[in-house]
């Protein structure tokens, strides 16, 4: 099979600790295009494959600020600009009464940006992904742990990378077709 038909090599592990150790050693060996798959979140795994931090909190903050501004402006516009009513000389911009809706829209926009932001950054929905071509990958959502070195990695070589993965004592190493 020509190398450009290959997405990567995938090693299977039985425990979270083994995967974490293998991920660290893979990163130390200089591989950067690496992904690890587990049935539940593992503390430190993302860092082990070289992921530093996510901008998601920033997105949520911006979403919340947008919601806050929208909520207040909506009410200010309606009460003071679009349809001002003079009720016994009371101020049109009655800000204390506008707080509850401003608050609700802050939360709404922040929550929507958290979910949409997460999905966009993850690239979800993903209708097709090569890792599912490995039949045993179905166990990644049950009790197995996988480490995939992608063919895009500059250090990737079908033979030497497979040899390297074998040194990590996996249960199996599979080739992932594109």
């Amino acid at each position: 099979m020509p190398a450009n038909r290959i997405y990567g090599l995938m090693a299977e592990f039985g425990t979270a600790e083994e995967l974490l150790g293998a991920a660290r050693r893979t990163h130390e060996a200089g591989y950067v295009r690496v992904d690890a798959f587990s049935p539940f979140p593992i503390e430190g795994l993302a860092e082990a494959i070289g992921f530093r931090h996510t901008r998601l909190p920033l997105v949520v903050l911006l979403g919340g600020m947008l919601g806050c501004g929208t909520g207040y402006f909506l009410q200010y516009y309606a009460a003071a600009i679009s349809y001002p009513i003079n009720v016994g000389g009371r101020p049109l911009n009655s800000w204390p009464a506008f707080i509850p809706i401003t608050f609700e829209l802050t939360i709404l926009f922040a929550a929507l940006s958290a979910v949409v932001g997460m999905l966009v950054m993850d690239g979800l929905p993903t209708p097709y992904h090569p890792v599912f071509n490995v039949p045993r990958f179905a166990l990644a959502s049950r009790d197995r742990f996988f480490l995939c070195i992608k063919a895009r990695d500059l250090r990737f070589n079908l033979l030497s990378t497979r040899e390297f993965l074998e040194t990590l004592h996996p249960r199996e190493v599979n080739t992932v077709d594109v």
């Binding site: 922040a110 932001g117 179905a138």
Partner: protein, 467 residues
């Protein structure tokens, strides 16, 4: 009441103190298989079919009641002047309160890192969602012209009018719709990894495609998990003040009014505590039978029951404090209307409701001081049921009791529900239970990935599956 620390006898009382939050001998595979089997098993249990037949009949009854309501109008209900807010508003407040325990369990207990929440949070979140759906129905039904409900929303309309943004009723519209949306998002984000599990485990092609679409191609990548955890924590942080704000705004619907018995600053905290109190009662009402029917005693252990009993007791005491404070302030204010309202509650035509509230919400939870009762599923169920009823009566007492006798005796009038009020209320209970039964059969009722995480932490040593 507590036993002297029973050494190593495995009796339920000792288990509740130090017991595990997951039964012994589980690994990643068996936890996954046990929970997903409830959904993926081809055979629908007999009790499910029977239960669905009953609840779906109630939904049909709701549809009949609503059709009649839309044809004829709110005159079919018992409401009139002076009691213009009857069952519909009582039911609204009751349902929205039920939802709050779900958010509390999923958000606040997540932030507090209470691991025992794991096995009940999915279930409680679903309960929130369905309770909010039932709650949202009632204010719309209660509008004289329900087909114009969108007038509550701000949009550039041809009448060039806006909703009255200074009114708690409009705040309520925003609060409840935000709450429903955020609850749905939170629930869905938690479901995605489990939907992927169902996609991978299902043998049925149609089910595989449906779960595949719903799981969006989740593959458990480390980076995705990282963002998933970040998003969950952020959503929990957002949902926590939200849940407090929702019931606060619901209580402002009343306390912004001048009616004796409504116009009180104690309302927001007292309503929020009442909501959590009642919500936990509803979680127990549902969890106790489900745990029994699906043999989930290893996942929803006596320790869970014990903890939920404690939360009910604590919030019940806050509610009791609210009642006492209301009564004290009525006397201390020296306001004749407030004083009369309080005496009228206790000894007036609706006195039976007041004493029912006291019995269900103050006396019944006192049994929860005993750990023996907190770990007894049957006794807990009875107490939880009493609280469900008591909290419904409480809203009736506040809403109807106050409206029926306000300032001028010439304006007084009694309220009696009609059969359509009852049909609509029990119909909404049927809708809630129908949605819940459908949920139990089609989605994992316990968060599978969080249970695997729990197995990992409980073992805290290499514990691979067998072969």
């Amino acid at each position: 009441m507590s036993n002297p620390a029973a050494d190593n006898s495995p009796d339920p009382v000792a288990q509740a103190l130090t017991g595990p939050i997951i039964g012994p001998g589980y690994n990643y595979a068996s936890v996954t298989d046990k929970i997903s089997a409830i959904v993926l098993n081809r055979r629908t249990p007999k009790w499910w079919v029977l239960g669905f037949a009953v609840t779906f009949t109630l939904v049909m009854m709701l549809l009949v009641a609503l059709t009649y309501l839309f044809t004829v109008g709110v005159g079919i209900w018992g409401i009139n002047i002076p009691v213009a807010w009857g069952f519909a508003i009582v039911n609204f407040v009751w349902w929205i309160g039920i939802g709050h325990a779900g958010t509390l369990i999923s958000a606040i207990l997540l932030l507090l890192r209470q691991q025992w929440r794991t096995s009940i949070n999915r279930f409680a979140e679903a309960m929130t969602l369905f309770a909010v759906a039932c709650a949202g129905l009632f204010p719309i039904l209660h509008l004289g012209r329900p087909w114009l409900f969108y007038w509550l929303l701000p949009y550039p309309d041809t009448m060039k009018l806006w909703p009255q943004f200074r009114s708690p009723l409009v705040w309520d519209c925003f609060a409840v719709s935000t709450y429903a949306t955020v609850s749905l998002l939170f629930w869905y984000v938690g479901l995605v990894p489990d939907l992927a599990t169902l996609r991978d485990r299902s043998q049925n092609r149609v089910a595989k495609i449906i779960y595949g679409i719903l799981s969006m191609g989740w593959r458990g990548s480390a980076v995705h998990w990282y963002r998933h955890e970040t998003a969950s924590l952020l959503l929990a942080g957002l949902a926590t003040p939200l849940v407090v704000s929702v019931h606060t705004i619901v209580s402002l619907d009343f306390s912004f009014g001048l009616v004796p018995g409504w116009h009180s600053t104690i309302f927001p905290p007292y309503f929020v505590a009442g909501a959590v109190f009642q919500g936990f009662a509803m979680v127990l009402t549902l969890a106790i039978p489900v745990r029994k029917l699906f043999h989930l005693e290893d996942f929803i252990t006596t320790r869970h029951l014990d903890n939920m009993g404690k939360v009910m007791l604590a919030t019940g005491l806050i509610v009791a404090f609210g009642y006492m404070s209301e009564t004290f302030i009525a006397w201390y204010s020296a306001n004749i209307y407030e004083r009369y309202m309080t005496l009228n509650r206790m000894f007036g035509p609706y006195a039976v409701v007041f004493w029912g509230v006291i019995a269900c919400n103050i006396l019944a939870p006192q049994f929860l001081w005993s750990r023996k009762i907190r770990v007894n599923a049957g006794a807990l169920f009875v107490i939880a049921m009493a609280i469900n009823i008591g909290m419904w009566l409480e809203r009736f007492m506040i809403i109807v009791g106050s409206l029926s006798r306000d300032f001028m005796p010439s304006a007084w009038g009694m309220y009696y529900p009609t059969r359509w009020d009852l049909f609509t209320f029990f119909g909404s209970v049927g809708l809630f239970l129908t949605l819940l039964l459908l949920f139990i059969r089609s989605l994992p009722l316990i968060s599978i990935f969080e249970m695997r995480e729990l197995v990992n932490e409980e073992a805290s040593q290499p514990s691979g599956g067998e072969a």
